[in-house]
Every structure is written in structure tokens, then in C-alpha cells.
Symmetry: none
Subunit: 210 residues, 2 copies
């Protein structure tokens, strides 16, 4: 951010320079000098066309800035923009999808999540594990069913926000399991463990790689 005084001073200085330059060349460029812009006002642009053009330009600028921040400063950035017309534009830094980053956002408030996970009904855990290792219940849908039942019995409507977030993660995990299993099954591939469900540590501070 910048103070008003400094800004005004700089502006005057620049105009001074410009004047000097013009004096040097003897007013030759008089024709184009009057494209005065003026400070940008922080309120909704009324003209529809102009607003749309502004949106396009500023949007690309914003996304560029977002990308720069994520690259230069090694930060994780997620950006979602809806145009007035309802179009979606999104950006997520490098290794994080929007979903992951916002999952992280939701997880931040409750670091105690681990405890909740441990504390949840063992049937769910059990079923997921079984499904993954393909021991007794080869039908993945039953797992989802169990999860739903578990949630139902746990009186979802009275869950706290933290619990809901946790529930969301659990169901998402289950969905991943199911998807993987079905994919493997249909493709006729051996069920190899890819990674995702382990411990959800993808958001933890990781050692840096250079």
C-alpha cells in the first residue's frame, strides 16, 4: 500500500519529466497526449460493455498475479471467479487442485481431526480396509451403504461444523476407494495402491525439495 502524499508527489514528478521530454521534441506529439485516465474509482462500472471488457482484462491480470505469487513465493493459491454472466474461471497453484486446497481450507480450523477419525465407528474403517484389500466384501457399493448408515445413525443433523467437515472427508475417501476399485476391476488390472487415502497429510508442511 502507498500513502497519498507519496503518490501525489510521484505523479507530479512524472508529469514534470513528461513536460521536459515534450519540450525537448517541441510539442510534436501533441495529438495523443490527452488520453487522460484518472484514478480508478472503486465502484461498479455502470456501462455494460465497458464492464465486460474490464472484467476480461482484469481477470487475466488477477490470474497472472495469482500465478506469480504462487511461483515466486512458493505459496499455495486457489482462486475462483464467477463473471457477472455466471461463467466460471479458476486457478489453483501447481500441485494442488481446487478441491484439495479448499479441503485444506476446511480442515485448517480443526487440527483435532485425527482424533475424530480414530473415534469414528469402526465398521466404516473396517469396511474400507476390507474393500481395499479385497478380502470379503468385493462390492464397493456396500461400503458406501455402510458409510451412509453410519452417518445416519450418528445423527448428522446435529453434527458440529468440524464433524461435518470430517464426514465430508470420510465420504470423499470412500468415494475414492470405490472409484479405484471399480476402475481396476473393469480394466482387469491388479489393485495397486496409488496413494491417496493414507492419512490426508497432503496439506501438512512438507520438507522442501529444491
Amino acid at each position: 500500500m502507498e500513502g497519498e502524499d507519496a503518490a501525489r508527489r510521484r505523479r507530479q514528478q512524472q508529469q514534470g519529466q513528461a513536460a521536459a521530454g515534450e519540450k525537448e521534441v517541441g510539442q510534436v506529439k501533441e495529438k495523443k497526449v490527452k488520453r487522460k485516465r484518472g484514478r480508478v474509482e472503486l465502484r461498479r462500472i455502470e456501462d455494460r460493455t465497458s464492464r465486460q471488457v474490464r472484467f476480461s482484462k482484469r481477470r487475466s491480470g488477477l490470474f497472472k498475479k495469482a500465478r506469480e505469487l504462487s511461483v515466486l513465493c512458493d505459496a499455495e493459491v486457489a482462486l475462483v471467479v464467477f463473471s457477472p454472466a455466471g461463467r466460471l474461471y479458476e486457478f489453483a497453484s501447481s500441485d494442488s487442485s481446487i478441491e484439495k486446497l479448499f479441503g485444506r481450507y476446511w480442515n485448517i480450523p480443526n487440527t483435532i481431526n485425527d482424533l475424530n477419525i480414530e473415534a469414528r465407528d469402526s465398521r466404516v474403517d473396517c469396511n474400507i480396509q476390507l474393500g481395499q484389500n479385497e478380502q470379503s466384501a468385493p462390492d464397493p457399493v456396500s461400503e458406501l451403504n455402510h458409510i451412509a448408515q453410519w452417518a445416519l445413525e450418528s445423527n448428522v443433523n446435529k453434527m458440529s461444523m468440524a464433524e461435518i467437515r470430517n464426514f465430508e472427508e470420510i465420504v470423499k475417501d470412500a468415494l475414492t476407494v470405490i472409484k479405484n476399485k471399480l476402475m481396476m476391476k473393469v480394466a482387469g488390472l491388479p489393485q495397486k495402491e496409488t496413494s491417496p487415502l493414507k492419512k490426508r497429510n497432503w496439506w501438512s508442511p512438507e520438507p522442501e525439495k529444491e
Copy 2:
């Protein structure tokens, strides 16, 4: 965005002006002229301290731009940034909380599903509608349960790849429904729709009592 040629041309022009200005005053300001900055390189800043300073400044700049875009162009913007240290910074335009805007984000992909939704087993559709209109089963989890049962009865193990994908989407939809409903319920937010997404929200449009 701007072309290289134009940029270079303008830079030369400006430096020409500056040179003219200096010549006018006779090199009096020689002492401070050499703060050369150079183009910003698009790669991670190595120096830790510098990176942190850059992060602070650029972050505030980015958030300012985001706010400007949302105000000037009447767009909805959600921005989440995690510093390398793991700190969270967030911005959401005016009337949208981060959760709402990203709920909206998650709902977008469903556009493609309209046809699929119509085509799939009517029992599911029916149950969802019932749940939604709170006639018999206001508990969103039951919807998930029904979907799971439907998939189970449909002999999932013999589904084609396309069908599995579709199933995955359906479950994801259900998850979205559940999540949003719970979020709204717990946060006590009114379910207000601002934009054109409404038509395909087969699962949420009506405000709830309770």
C-alpha cells in the same frame, strides 16, 4: 497481456524521456539513478527473507486486485492463499462466503449431468426429490443411502466404464448435496441463489425451515 515488441518500444521511449529530463537538470541526481530492478523472473525466490517480504507485499496486492475485480466488474471472487509457512489468508467477494462460493464451484460440473440425471433410475430421482422437499426424509444421508442401494441393485460389478464414471458423478453429486445442506444448516445461512445456476439445482433450491 502485452506483446514483447510493444513493451520494449515503450520502455525505450520512457528511458528516452528520463534521459532528456536528466540532461535538462544536468546530472544532478546521479546518486540514485542506479536502482536497476530488471524484469521479474518467474521462478521461486531463493532468498528466504526476500521471499517472505515479497509474499507479504504481493499478497496484499493480489487481494486488492481481487477486491477491485469483484467491485468494479460485479463478479464473485473467492481467493485462498496459504503462505509457505502454512498461514491462511482468504478473501471472498461481498455477499458470498468462501464456503458458499466454493459450494457453487462444486456445483458447476453438474451441468453435464443433467441428461444423466434424467436417464438414471427413477427411484433415486424420486428419493432425492422427496428428501429435498422434506416430505418424508429430510435427512440428506438417506439420499446417499438410496443412491448406494440403487447402484448395488444395478449390479455395479458389471457396469461399463462409462457407467462407472456416471456412478461416480452421481455419488459426487450426492456428496455435494449433503455437504451443502449440512453447511447451510450448521452455519445458519439462508440458501440464497444469486445467479443462473438455479435451473439445474435439482437438489437444493428451496429454502428450508427449521
